[in-house]
């Protein structure tokens, strides 16, 4: 494993095929497509008198079969190519991704504006911003401007929450 990571191009036989990114990507696409294909068999059908051309499930079925076939072609073509190691994702990526999850939780349970503020703060901080003034700018001042702009100019009503309720009342 160590040798593989130190080389730009990995040795073809150094790892089992299921570690290779081309296999993982193709596998995910095919499993996803097969799952959707399976669900198409449970779509309602229309009687022939109402059926115009083809059944509603036929078109998505055809598309999914095309996706699966093309993915298999991509996979088999990738076998001929030298395998390149993917760059490991840095911690900031995962911090950003986790802050998305936190955003969803806060928006669903507490407040929409608070969720935007928290996420902006977390992204800015985890990306290296430590100055309080700039953190305030991205987490409170700018979201508040956007919020008020959308609310007043576009007449938007944001979902209720602890902060939005105070604003609306």
């Amino acid at each position: 494993m160590k040798d593989v990571q130190n080389n730009q191009r990995a040795d073809e036989g150094s790892l089992p095929f299921f570690f290779k990114s081309s296999f993982k990507v193709s596998f995910v696409i095919i499993i996803f497509s097969l799952t959707l294909l399976f669900t198409t068999f449970f779509f309602d059908t229309v009687p022939p008198i109402l059926n115009r051309g083809i059944q509603p499930a036929t078109f998505p079925k055809g598309l999914l079969i095309i996706i699966i076939s093309l993915t298999l072609i991509v996979y088999f073509l990738s076998l001929k190519k030298p395998w390149k190691i993917e760059k490991i994702l840095p911690s900031t990526f995962f911090k950003t991704l986790y802050s998305f999850i936190l955003f969803i939780i806060i928006a669903e349970t507490l407040d929409f504006f608070l969720a935007i503020s928290t996420l902006s703060l977390l992204i800015s901080y985890s990306w290296g911003e430590k100055r309080i003034l700039y953190l305030l700018l991205v987490s409170i001042i700018f979201p508040a401007i956007v919020f008020i702009f959308f609310e007043t100019i576009l007449g938007l009503r944001f979902p209720p929450g602890i902060i939005t309720n105070i604003y609306y009342n």
Partner: protein, 486 residues
């Protein structure tokens, strides 16, 4: 003469002129910022356009498109990072020339050739869009189906990625368009019991997710990247010798760019790459390319801006997007109740010529702004990502929410942001998804209606000459990338 008067309508209205100036400035800023660009910017601003009249809204979007395409050159020349994908070829010679202390000359040539290419393409648009619309009167459902298939097969050749991966992404886009109630039978498809999905998935959450949010995630992996910025004193107009050296290249690239733009799904990125390689092929000094050739800059920049007008031809005449940004403009047209196609040319010529005129003026405006303000715009790249991207996130969330006031749209946006990130990471372009999503309903609707007309006989498609021509073109479009590899 009457059409010329209609084209000048934006100049006669203070409101439209202000929108044009704002759109051009905003487009320039978007183009300068790497990772943003006219497609993402257009999608972000689309909710705001709801407060505008249709003509004002589309003028705003098209001016962002024209100026944003040029804006990418500023970053490409000064920091060797294309502000937009269409400016990638500009880096090859723009940055080396800037490093030689000639940043002003490089930017001057980029500005002149971009403006020329843009204006040339508007002329192409004014002449060819009505002709194409006239031709489209002959189209029935089978012809539209064949045309949409041709548009989708053109996806195989966009960008420098794998043609097959582009086709997978396009098919994925069409698949997304099938979510919700089937428009012919009202049967639910892929809704999984979620009521909000019965209306289908909106275009904006997908576009903002695939472009803005996936770019935010991409930026989170690039924080250690340091840009070396070349100092710029002032933008210089090209000298007489520069013009003498490049006028043929600018003219050729403008033609190439306009032609590539007209092809469905192709856009500025492909146009600039072809414009650049053709400039090199015809150059008396090809060895200079890659080391700071002024012809290289002219070739790439004239072509990518020429593609803007070209891409508007199929968008307005047929309702088939010519590029990713025109897909956003097409959505803008649809949400404002304007149906692109031949009838639009007959019923609302003042609307269309207003757009043509706005594009023409926008090309002149970005020439002026670019010439006098490039130094200022270049400073925008100094805004740190840790400040810029959280702000873009706040805008993305509010913009996405505003269209339907639905929180589920935000979850869809985040979902497609993550999907888009991994697609890019593993070599899939996100542009085909957008084109597929836009064309999905057209493909399925025309296929099903054609089969009703043909009584279920698929071979009847090949008995229609126009449809057959499009199928042959589709076959060529599919074969071309494979032949090119051999």
């Amino acid at each position: 003469m009457e059409n010329l008067y209609l084209m000048m309508a934006p100049l006669l209205s203070t409101k439209l002129m202000l929108i044009l100036v704002f759109g051009t400035l905003f487009g320039l800023i978007l183009g300068v910022l790497p990772g943003l660009g006219p497609t993402t910017g257009g999608a972000l601003i689309l909710p705001f356009t709801m407060t505008l009249e249709p003509l004002s809204a589309i003028i705003l979007l098209t001016s962002i498109y024209c100026a944003g395409t040029y804006g990418g050159a500023i970053t490409a020349i000064l920091i060797n990072t294309p502000g937009t994908p269409a400016a990638a070829a500009t880096c090859l010679d723009g940055y080396p020339l800037a490093q030689k202390g000639e940043a002003g000359r490089a930017l001057g040539m980029a500005t002149v050739s971009s403006a020329f290419g843009g204006i040339f393409s508007v002329i192409v648009l004014v002449f060819f869009a009505p002709l194409l619309a006239q031709l489209a009167y002959e189209f029935g459902q089978p012809e539209y189906f064949a045309l949409a298939i041709f548009g989708l097969t053109m996806l195989a050749s966009i960008g420098d990625g794998s043609p097959i991966k582009n086709l997978i992404a396009g098919a994925f886009g069409i698949l997304i368009s099938t979510i919700g109630k089937d428009f012919m039978t009202s049967i639910d498809r892929f809704t999984f019991g979620v009521n909000e999905l019965t209306e289908g998935i909106g275009f904006i959450p997908v576009v903002v997710g695939l472009f803005a949010i996936s770019e935010l995630l991409t930026q989170s992996t690039l924080l250690d990247q340091v840009f070396k910025r070349v100092a710029l004193k002032a933008v210089k107009l090209p000298s007489f010798n520069d013009y003498k050296l490049t006028w043929k290249t600018i003219l050729r690239s403008s033609g190439i760019g306009s032609f590539i733009g007209v092809l469905p799904a192709e856009g500025g990125t492909v146009a600039s790459l072809i414009g650049y390689s053709e400039a090199k092929r015809w150059s008396k000094d090809p060895g200079e390319f890659g080391k700071g050739s002024i012809e290289g800059i002219a070739g790439a920049e004239a072509a990518n801006n020429a593609a803007t007008g070209g891409a508007m031809v199929p968008t307005l005449a047929l309702g088939i997007p010519g590029s990713a940004t025109t897909a956003v403009i097409l959505t803008g047209l649809i949400i404002h109740g304007v149906r692109p196609g031949p009838d639009l040319f007959r019923e609302q010529p003042e609307f269309l010529y207003g757009i043509f005129g706005a594009m023409l003026i926008s090309n002149i405006l970005f020439f002026i702004f670019g010439f006098f303000g490039a130094k200022l715009f270049a400073r925008i790249t100094l805004v740190p990502n840790k400040i810029l991207w959280p702000m873009i996130f706040a805008l993305s969330v509010c913009g996405t929410y505003s269209l339907n006031q639905s929180i589920i749209d935000i979850w869809i946006m985040l979902f497609f942001g993550v999907v888009g990130f991994f697609m890019r990471r593993y070599g899939f372009s996100v542009v085909p998804v957008i084109i597929g999503l836009i064309l999905g309903e057209l493909v399925e609707g025309t296929l099903r209606q054609s089969l009703v007309i043909f009584d279920g006989n698929w071979f009847m498609f090949f008995k229609r000459p126009i449809a057959l021509t499009f199928f042959i073109l589709a076959f060529i479009a599919l074969s071309f990338p494979l032949l090119k590899r051999k």
